[in-house]
């Protein structure tokens, strides 16, 4: 048993086995999604709150493909552009899922989907007062993260890059600063394109990584989900293990004495 055995993610007193949190959107099918979830090892998934499609007679539900006895549902407020909208959606999500957890999104711009941090802090304050466990999606700004924490956020979720962009971690230094400042878990949310991005986020000290498109949009979502499982684990272990310092010149790994013929 190494340092890893007891290393679990704890948010607002709730323990998770996996540090990978994944989405439920944009998969080729619900069946593929279910397989990807299984392969990822994740025990928390995000879901969106939307109007029931009254004319859809198939009545196929997303929840038919999620084993909620194993998987914790985290409703989001995606698509909300004001604190009022996000609060309303969060309250509806609470009634639909009978849990007071919310991934809080207040979007400020359609093209970048960057958060409106002013509205985000306000919505966090309101929802925390109402007893919600609030996980806000924010820009990678240490000061905003501190304000969210002061407003009562249970974790902060800075972006690595714009949602769905797959650009990877754009500002590693900010994420390190956020990790150093924060007294709550730091979850890198959005921007991951491939496994090395997730590992890198974890090596920087992130407590977890949240992703959707990187898995759902991959040519083989199930294989990518498995790769993310190992990437997050590997990155976490590397962070805990403590990497060597970077040096400009070589240091020999083999003894410099006892060479034959010298």
């Amino acid at each position: 048993m190494g340092i890893s055995a007891s290393d679990q993610l704890v948010i607002a007193g709730k323990t998770f086995q996996s540090r990978l949190i994944i989405g439920t959107g944009k998969y080729p099918s619900n069946a593929v999604m279910a397989k990807a979830h299984e392969a990822s090892g994740a025990d928390m998934v995000t879901v969106a709150v939307r109007r029931v499609n009254i004319s859809d007679r198939t009545k196929e539900s997303l929840l038919d493909y999620i084993d909620t006895s194993k998987m914790f549902l985290l409703p989001n407020t995606a698509g909300c552009y004001s604190a009022d909208e996000a609060v309303r959606t969060a309250r509806l999500g609470r009634e639909a899922g009978l849990s007071n957890w919310v991934k809080l999104e207040v979007i400020g711009d359609e093209k970048t989907l960057f958060p409106d941090n002013e509205q985000l802090v306000e919505a966090t304050r309101i929802l925390v007062r109402e007893g919600f466990v609030v996980l806000p999606y924010t820009t990678d700004d240490p000061i905003v993260c501190r304000k969210l924490e002061d407003a009562g956020a249970a974790a902060v979720m800075p972006l690595g890059a714009p949602i769905g962009s797959g650009l990877g971690i754009q500002n590693p230094n900010n994420l390190r600063i956020i990790r150093e400042f924060a007294r709550v878990p730091v979850i890198v949310d959005a921007g991951v394109g491939t496994a090395s991005d997730a590992a890198f986020a974890m090596e920087l000290g992130a407590d977890a990584v949240l992703m959707n498109t990187a898995i759902a949009g991959a040519q083989d979502p199930v294989a990518m989900a498995e790769s993310m499982r190992y990437a997050v684990r590997a990155g976490r272990l590397a962070y805990l293990a403590g990497r060597i310092p970077r040096k400009m010149y070589a240091t020999a790994s083999s003894p410099v004495e006892g060479l034959v013929g010298r």
Partner: protein, 71 residues
């Protein structure tokens, strides 16, 4: 039994339903599983335990939401 039709707005669209009707009965008539939705009635979010007692009347605004795929 005496029934009449009420005009409501359901998820943003006009709809005529026999009523006044309870939220539970409305969901049943739409074949919607009550355990998987949240209902907002005239901007008030209802607890599931209130579905049986809450009457939907002429001119009411009802939103029924559920979970869909998202990130």
């Amino acid at each position: 039994m005496f029934t009449t039709s009420v005009h409501i707005t359901l998820n943003g669209d006009p709809l005529d339903v026999p009523g006044p009707v309870t939220v539970t009965a409305l969901l049943e008539s739409l074949e919607i599983d009550v355990r998987r939705v949240a209902v907002e009635h005239n901007l008030v979010i209802l607890k599931r335990t209130a579905f049986d007692q809450t009457l939907v009347r002429e001119g009411d605004n009802v939103e029924i939401v559920n979970f869909v795929g998202g990130g």
